[in-house]
Amino acid sequence: MRVFSSRSLSTAVLVVAVVILALPGIALAKTEIVWWHALQSALGERVNEIAAKFNASQNEYEVKAIFKGSYPETLNAAIAAYRAKQAPHVVQVYEVGTQTMLSSGAIYPVFQLMKDNNIAIDWNDLIGPVKTYYSSGGNLYSMAFNSSTPILYYNKDLFKKAGLADKPPATWDEVEAMAKKLVAGGAKCGYSTGWPSWVLMETMHAYHDQPFADHANGFDGLATTLKINGPFGVKMLELLQRGAKEGWFTYNGRLNKAEANMGGGECGIFTTSSAYIGNITKTAEGKFAWGTAPLPHMAGFPQGNSIIGGATLWVMKGAKPEEYKGVARFFKYLASTENQAWWATTTGYLPLTQAAVKTMEASGVYGKNPHLKTSVTQMNAGKTTPNSQGLRLGNYGSVRDAIEEQMENVFAGKKTAKQGLDDAVAKSNDILKEFAALYK
């Protein structure tokens, strides 16, 4: 008798346990939101963290962050998935893919998403260049996420060795003068740069309120003509061609290959993405002292603003309304001041709102790491003009290749700056016209 009752007792306990364990599953089937991104290692872990924080903050939606490879790989995967009608809800696309996404007819604009779900975000609090790059007609199409902008870095030890004061150059004339002194003082490279086209052509044109392409850099319609072979572009490249010849400017390759030279302590002055701060902090530790400053200005040209790079989050069409509600909630979460400040502090990317900047100021983050503020200061000091909203180019990747190809010719002294830029423009115009023809 005892045996029987203990057996049935344990069965009952088992049944109750199973029911209790299953209860959450029954009661709360979380709606899953799929997010494809291209950030790996340390940055990828931050992505996972923010997704986990969102998931823990509520119990209706679950964001699944999946690393899909590099930016081009992630974009390719998204396109393939969309065509197979299996697109993720959110995909991170780099700035090069902006026009591709806008023309695709496959996206759900962010401003529309938030409106449809009655969630308000203060768009006006976004930092100027961040907002304008991804907006059309004042409305935001993709959610700003990891943005950076070029800034100037300098090697304080090399400066000291060359007898220069600890004051970074503010104009390109100063860059030339200081770089010459640095080389004379024994530096292997006076000035160099990462992302040659992005920094020296794209950003510099915007920084000096010079047009890069027609149709307001592609914001007013598909761009079909580049304008970089004007007086500003020519002056910029002539300066650097001279620098290469005289030895104070060293061209160290495309993409961010040159960052290895800066991190190795070779270069006195360097321009590259603000996102490099994380890396250089680690690589230069114990080796050399360094500082940051806003980008140098070219005398004789007006003041514009620097443009951003990095990536944003796009929402793909084809999902259900209740899932989009979750995406909207997730974006609202991401845009909160607290999360913005956390993200910017831990990753080194730009905080996207002024409120976040104030919070970081107040919490002493900028006090501890003033370099993080350089990019913000630079952007807040600039003027937003039609020429400095950003760039929207079809086949942007190929255009950049064409420009860098000619820049390399100019730096090597094979062509004059004017000739090189004319050739770059001719080829790029073909590339742009091809894209425009597809969407007539």
């Binding site: 591709t100 390759g253 495309r254």
Partner: protein, 293 residues
Amino acid sequence: MKRTVFRNRWLPYALVAPQVAITVVFFYWPALDSVRLSLYRASPFGDRLIFVGWGNFARLFNDAAYVRSAMTSVVFAFFVTVIGLALALVLAALANAKIRGLGVYRSLLLWPYGIAPAIAGILWLFIFHPSYGVLPYVLSFVTAYQFNWFLKGWVAMTLIIVAAIWKQFGYNLAFYLAGLQGIETSVLEAASVDGAGPIRRFLAITFPLLSPVTFFLFTLNMTFAFFDTFGLVHSVTQGGPGDATSILVYKAWKDGFENLQLGISAAQSVVLMAVVIGLTAFQFRFAEKRVNY
């Protein structure tokens, strides 16, 4: 010779069905689609298409970057093939003696065949590394020149050429050794009695007798250098610096998968198809002649 065949209506079809199915779906369909796509300009999402006929090809052949890429491929294939074969031939000739353990040597020389070109590239990348590689270090005792493959196109080319030759070397050597062992020593002895020195003997007798092997290895190495070295370039130089090592295969992939220019990439694929057909035709025409030997 009359062959015995089995009489069965449906069985042969069933037997070839898997191969035919896979061949049609994964070879012919995409290949024909490549040809079709090469006649269009396509949007990245593939939703917009404009027929341009020869437009993509005209654009390719007028594009300095593409022509450069073709030159790079030719130079790369040439050096990998010629240097690889020459080294293997010379070493095989010098090593061609009746020695014991040839089989052991052969297996000790063939194993790099099992290494993927991409991995071979990574190994050599480290050896060539401008900051701490063995090779620049050793060379620094000889000259002050900076062998920085990040910056200098020709150094990067040398790097991938060396990695490719290294991987193929044992293979070339093995075939030459086999070829040499198959040459009748009596012919060579007769020549030496006639007073021909070793070099003369080699040039007048050995080399011509080896020409089938040479031609076979030639087309094989060329095909390898054109088509199987994508992994090497992608993992080591990514076509750089600039586009100094952007071989045709790499450029076709990059334009299609990174720059999302589907039509242009397909046109490049079609050009590559022409190259393969040429190489294959060349090889088979020569294989016919081989039978006479």
